[in-house]
Amino acid sequence: MVEIDAVVKVYGDAGGYRALDGVSFTVPEGQFAAIMGPSGCGKSTLLNVLGLMDQPTSGSYKLDATAVQGLSDAERTHLRRDKLGFVFQSFNLLPRMTALQNVCLPMGYAGLSRKDRLERAHGLLARVGLKGKELRTPLELSGGERQRVGIARSLANRPRLLLADEPTGNLDSKTSVEIMALFRELHAEGMTLLLVTHDPGIAAQADRILRVKDGRIVADERPAAQPA
């Protein structure tokens, strides 16, 4: 699903800050990989490159067997829209829109009819446990509920890969457990997942843990023990 090789990301001009310093790994379809590492080590940068939000300075990247180098901004955006889902730490819901409208947003860009959008959005919100709260705005939802909307939205265009940057970072531990249950459910259904986290308990639920330090992968390990 994801193949990157010797990816370098330098901020600023040449000789600027090397946020990614030759990162290579492969994530097969259906894998749940956790990315861990200290703050500022380049995890978000990595996710942005994988999410086609940012272009690496050098190195190659194949997403679902498509080489993305040299694609135009619009082409990358279309790939992102059709194959990728983002879940953010701070949810990034549009505050003036209802949960339903937020979930509809990516489908609008994909050109789905209004009827299809609403139908699918209702289904997704029901699936993340928000049935009956479709018309609430983010302000009227708890943190956990907001993240559920965020997950529903990330699934709107039926992506092949979910990228989550510290999705439980703003949630209490009880809510985190609930959100992680959702991710595990998605994984069980075959979704490929890349999840950045600081929490070893969460990383332990993954198939694989990639440890990053100073822009490099320093360890690629299987979790010691699957949780009960």
């Binding site: 999410g51 939000m53 955006t77 829209r81 059709d82 829109m97 990516p106 860009y109």
Partner: protein, 426 residues
């Protein structure tokens, strides 16, 4: 992203920034109102010109009496403009459709207890050929009345207003006699003018004032009498004025093509009869109307300029609003990009919002313009009626276009934002 979606989002955004939206919206509205007002007036002007030409007759010329001034030695050489001039012109050009000499005067009128000083006009039979639509009761003068300077007169009753009287007319008191003429049926009565008694043989009613296209010759004459009668009994004349003097002679040659020929003949004829004294002036009616239209056009251009400036100010407002909006929505732009919105989607979204503001402002401006025209201009209803259907889409296009144009730069800026930076923005 489809346009319907952008429009919906646009409404939400506009609504959640009411004050900001309202400011740019209202400047657009004022501009549009001014532009619409101009459209209405310009078109009304052309409609009126056409009507004026229709009514005045196609070949109209006016010979107006003028104080010769200057060389007093010459004054004695000419008798001034006279009935004789009119008769000579008629004899030289029997083909003229109308040749109507008039003499204005004023007199003290008494009708029972009613007294007033009134304007009157002495006319000949050709006056009837001016062809204006009156309702007539009684009869017009005949050649007998003219030949004998009969003591008869015709009352010109003012038309009043067809629709609601415009508010400004309430401050404009109807002339005393005009009111009296409307209230009292004067047909057949004998009235006193200065020292003489005159019989009212006819009553002519003017068309309603707001339906009357003779906007440039609203003359003060309220009574008409045979020209000879006025000359003999009512004219105040100076020592040098002749007994058969007139104020003007209105000529209708019958067609536009014959005006230059008639004009040359008249110039030659009068120059001989007046022995070179320039105590008259020949005015081409078309020239007069054209001059008047020229002035109106200048005025229209001025109003249009104001409208354009207002719309531009609205555009700058919209640019400002769009820039501010974008600034407060940088993160949203990042989210939208992350969710699959292309640069074009972002551009379209902000342009749609601006165009919405423009269209809404335009609609409000049309409302404002229409009520403005109705209540502020003299002939409101008629001016509004002068608007053509395409004036409305045109004004809307102007406002939406301006809004779009001014939103282009900020919207472009928004679409160029780096999505990662935008998402990071607090």
């Amino acid at each position: 992203m489809n346009v319907g979606e952008s429009v919906r989002t646009g409404f939400v955004e506009i609504w959640s920034h009411k004050t900001r939206s309202f400011l740019s919206f209202s400047s657009i509205a004022f501009g549009v109102a001014a532009i619409l007002y101009t459209f209405a007036n310009v078109n009304g002007m052309y409609i009126r010109r056409t009507k004026a030409f229709d009514i005045a007759g196609p070949g109209r010329l006016e010979i107006e009496k003028r104080e010769s001034g200057g060389f007093s030695a010459l004054v004695g050489l000419s008798k001034g403009l006279t009935t004789g001039d009119a008769e000579a012109m008629r004899a030289a050009m029997p083909w003229l459709y109308m040749l109507s000499p008039t003499l204005r005067a004023s007199a003290d009128l008494r009708d029972g207890d009613f007294r007033d000083r009134v304007q009157l006009e002495g006319v000949t039979l050709d006056w009837a050929k001016r062809g204006w639509v009156f309702t007539k009761r009684g009869r017009f003068f005949n050649s007998h009345d003219l030949a004998n300077a009969a003591r008869v007169c015709i009352v010109l009753e003012q038309g009043g207003w067809a629709g609601k009287k415009p508010f400004w007319a309430r401050f404009w008191r109807d002339d005393n006699f005009a009111g009296h003429a409307r209230r009292a049926d004067m047909l057949g009565r004998t009235i006193q003018l200065d020292d003489g008694l005159y019989t009212v043989i006819g009553v002519l009613k003017n068309p309603p004032r707001d339906k009357d296209p003779r906007w440039f010759f609203r003359s003060g004459g309220l009574l008409i009498l045979p020209l000879t009668t006025v000359q003999r009994y009512l004219a105040r004349r100076g020592a040098t004025d002749s007994l058969d003097g007139v104020d003007n002679i209105i000529v209708d040659t019958g067609s536009v093509e014959t005006i230059p020929r008639a004009r040359r003949r008249i110039e030659a004829l009068l120059s001989g009869r007046h022995r070179g004294v320039a105590d008259y002036e020949i005015k081409d009616f078309r020239e007069m109307v054209q001059n008047m239209l020229e002035n109106m056009r200048k005025y229209a251009v001025a109003v249009l300029a104001v409208g354009v400036v207002a719309v531009l100010a609205g555009g700058v407002g919209i640019m400002n609003v769009t820039l501010a909006t974008i600034f407060s929505r940088i993160r949203e732009i990042g989210v939208r990009r992350a969710l699959g919105g292309t640069r074009a989607d972002i551009l379209v979204q902000f342009l749609t919002e601006a165009a919405l503001l423009g269209v809404l402002g335009g609609i409000a401006g049309i409302g404002l313009g229409l009520s403005g025209i109705r209540y502020l201009s003299d002939d409101g209803a008629e001016t509004v009626a002068a608007l053509l259907w395409w004036h409305f889409p045109a004004t809307l296009a102007i406002s939406a276009g301006t809004a779009l144009l001014f939103a282009l730069y900020p919207a472009y800026q928004a679409s160029r934002l780096d999505p990662v930076e935008a998402l990071r923005y607090e």
